[in-house]
């Protein structure tokens, strides 16, 4: 997002990040520090959450949406004696787009009442971009994993053909490929079919 207002980051803002996904937590912490927010505390567990928030007295709380303890935070708006300063959700109507972007990215922000939204905006933008980056990373990782799995399946099917039909590796691969093309199926599906048929007929 373009920075129309090059305001100096508020390095004194106390930020608490609650996220049970350690890698994402590390990515976000690094991002916030790079952006000049040095007072960042991270929690990878939500146990004794209220006490810890009370002890820390943060200006901004960031919590991932997969965390059931969001509802614990909701209670903190109600119980004023549990926190020294009232905490409010990021409520400015003019920033509905920012809230939507945050929820879409899977994170929610709570700020101390009265904190100017201009001071929080860069923090939220950073958080949203890091959450999205993590999502991409996770998707790539899953794709890599499933690609690896697929390769193993094809290897196994080739092995079966080589052993039972006395084919060379290239011949086995060629047969799988040809079958896949003629049946309009993916190579890995043909390989899986072959393996399960083989397992079925083995005994």
């Amino acid at each position: 997002m373009p920075k129309s207002n090059p305001n100096i980051p508020d390095s004194d803002l106390k930020i608490l990040v609650i996220d049970e996904t350690p890698i994402r937590l590390a990515i976000l912490e690094a991002g916030l520090k790079e952006a000049g927010f040095f007072d960042v505390t991270t929690l990878d567990t939500a146990s004794a959450l209220v006490e810890r928030i009370y002890a820390l007295d943060p200006d901004v709380i960031l919590i991932d949406l997969e965390n059931p303890s969001r509802d614990v935070l909701e209670q903190m708006f109600q119980v004023s004696r549990a926190v020294r300063r009232p905490i409010a959700m990021f409520v400015e109507q003019s920033d509905k787009a920012t809230i939507e972007a945050a929820i879409d990215a899977g994170v929610s922000a709570y700020i101390v009442d009265g904190l100017k939204k201009e001071r929080v905006k860069p923090i939220l933008e950073m958080t949203v971009s890091r959450f999205r980056a993590f999502d991409r990373l996770r998707t790539e990782l899953e794709e890599t994993k499933s690609a690896l799995k697929e390769r193993k399946v094809v290897e196994k099917a080739k092995g079966i053909l080589m052993k039972s039909r006395g084919m060379s590796e290239d011949e086995a691969y060629g047969l799988l490929r040809k079958t896949a093309m003629s049946q309009g199926k993916r190579l890995v599906d043909v390989a899986e079919g072959l393996i399960s048929t083989f397992e079925l007929l083995k005994d």
Partner: protein, 410 residues
């Protein structure tokens, strides 16, 4: 409306009473009415609220007080949300740890054995004894500030003279963590929806001391929440959703279907607990645990009978009155006007008209007045006199200005 627009995204929380949505999809009540549910399991009520607010969801399984809180802008500013139907009645219970159960038995074993409202007096005695001995106050859990669980627990405690804001420590704990929190001693008791009470009993960590149907039979619990603007834009689709959910609720209230319901709900992408812990509240064969007598209560959770799907405006008034009682809202306003904007019996009646059902003609009903009705152990509630009801109750949040509310509710 184009076919592609007839996919309805709905959020739910893994609880027994998400059943209407799950059953509507799994048994095809949605497609019968020409739409399909795209269901999303969520981990917090705050997520449900936010995703409904920004339009990720079209509708949601909601705690009955949530649409009211949204309309009042409590918690955070949100789009106005309405409740055009109720999804279930009853279903909650108050469960205590084995240790607190023992203390309550020591204080008054008969009251604990009787359960329900009577058990509150045993708990009150424990609270007094602990205060006298200089011990830490009890910590009790519930699931969300704007929940019937919060109000049930508070009403129950206050009925026995326990001030929920000063005599005990009331905290929010997410339902799946409650049984574990009891075991670890982080909470001494909690009020939550099923199956989590039965899960705690099953695991040997808790004893059910009161069920909601013992405190207030056929009391409000979950509603269908939709954005007011969305309801106005898509009235036909909303009618079809209400029809499908009402038929799912009818199906759920057939005793022979409850076994199948338990099997469906037990699946990991629905509630994700044992079939057994769902079957107990579904069949009304509840074990209290701790050697206390079992409960036989076919109304432990009600989905359709007793006008369970009708959005009683008197329910809304009662919930609003509890928000006032406990200081969640301080600026006075017209209670009936708010109840009428949030709870929409007219939409419900119009939707179910082709189903040959006979929903009530009245929008309001009193509680605890009709013979045989029970409301928190002999209390009464007249929705036209909510402030009077509050004035008669000695315990409420400090600083609640009932006179100011009275001026707005003549």
């Amino acid at each position: 409306m184009r076919r592609s627009e007839r996919v309805v995204r709905a959020g739910f929380i893994p609880l027994l009473d998400c059943a209407p949505l799950v059953i509507a999809r799994e048994r095809g009540f949605d497609t019968r009415f020409g739409f399909s549910f795209d269901l999303h399991r969520e981990v917090s009520w705050a997520n449900i609220r936010d995703k409904l607010d920004i339009g990720v969801f079209d509708c949601a399984h909601m705690l009955a007080p949530m649409p009211i809180a949204a309309m009042l802008g409590l918690g955070r500013a949100t789009e106005p949300v309405i409740a055009p139907m109720s999804l279930s009645l009853n279903g909650n219970a108050i469960t205590v740890s084995m240790g607190l159960h023992q203390e309550m038995r020591d204080a008054d074993a008969d009251a604990v054995r009787a359960g329900g409202m009577a058990a509150a007096s045993a708990l009150a005695e424990v609270v007094r004894r602990r205060a006298k001995a200089g011990r830490e106050p009890l910590t009790l859990g519930m699931v969300y500030p704007f929940s019937c669980h919060n109000y049930d627990l508070r009403f129950w405690l206050a009925s026995a003279g326990v001030d929920p804001d000063n005599d005990v420590n009331l905290i929010v704990v997410p339902p799946p963590l409650l049984a574990e929190s009891l075991k670890a001693g982080r909470v001494d008791g909690f009020c939550v929806g099923q199956p989590w009470n039965s899960v705690a009993v099953e695991q040997g960590h808790g004893v059910i001391v009161a069920t909601k149907s013992e405190l207030w039979p056929f009391s409000p619990e979950k509603v269908l929440g939709v954005r007011e603007a969305w309801a106005a834009e898509k009235p036909e689709l909303l009618h079809d959703i209400i029809r499908a959910l009402t038929q799912a609720c009818q199906w759920l209230d057939e005793p022979e279907n409850r076994y199948e319901a338990a099997a469906i709900l037990a699946q990991p992408h629905h509630v994700g607990v044992t079939e057994e812990s769902l079957l107990k509240p579904l069949t009304g064969q509840l074990q209290r645990g701790g050697g206390e007598p079992d409960i036989v209560d076919p109304d432990a959770v009600v989905f359709h009978r007793h006008d369970a799907n009708f959005p009683w405006r008197s329910h809304a008034v009662w919930l609003i009155s509890q928000m006032i009682r406990w200081g969640q809202v301080r600026e006075p306003f017209d209670i009936l006007k708010l109840a009428e904007r949030v709870y929409r019996p007219k939409i419900y009646r119009a939707a179910v008209a082709p189903l040959s059902l006979a929903p009530p003609d009245e929008d309001y009903k009193s509680e605890g007045i009709a013979p045989g009705s029970a409301f928190f152990g002999g209390e009464t509630f007249d929705p036209q006199a909510a402030i009077g009801h509050l004035k008669a109750l000695p315990i409420r949040a400090a600083g609640t200005d009932l006179e100011a509310f009275a001026e707005h509710n003549l």
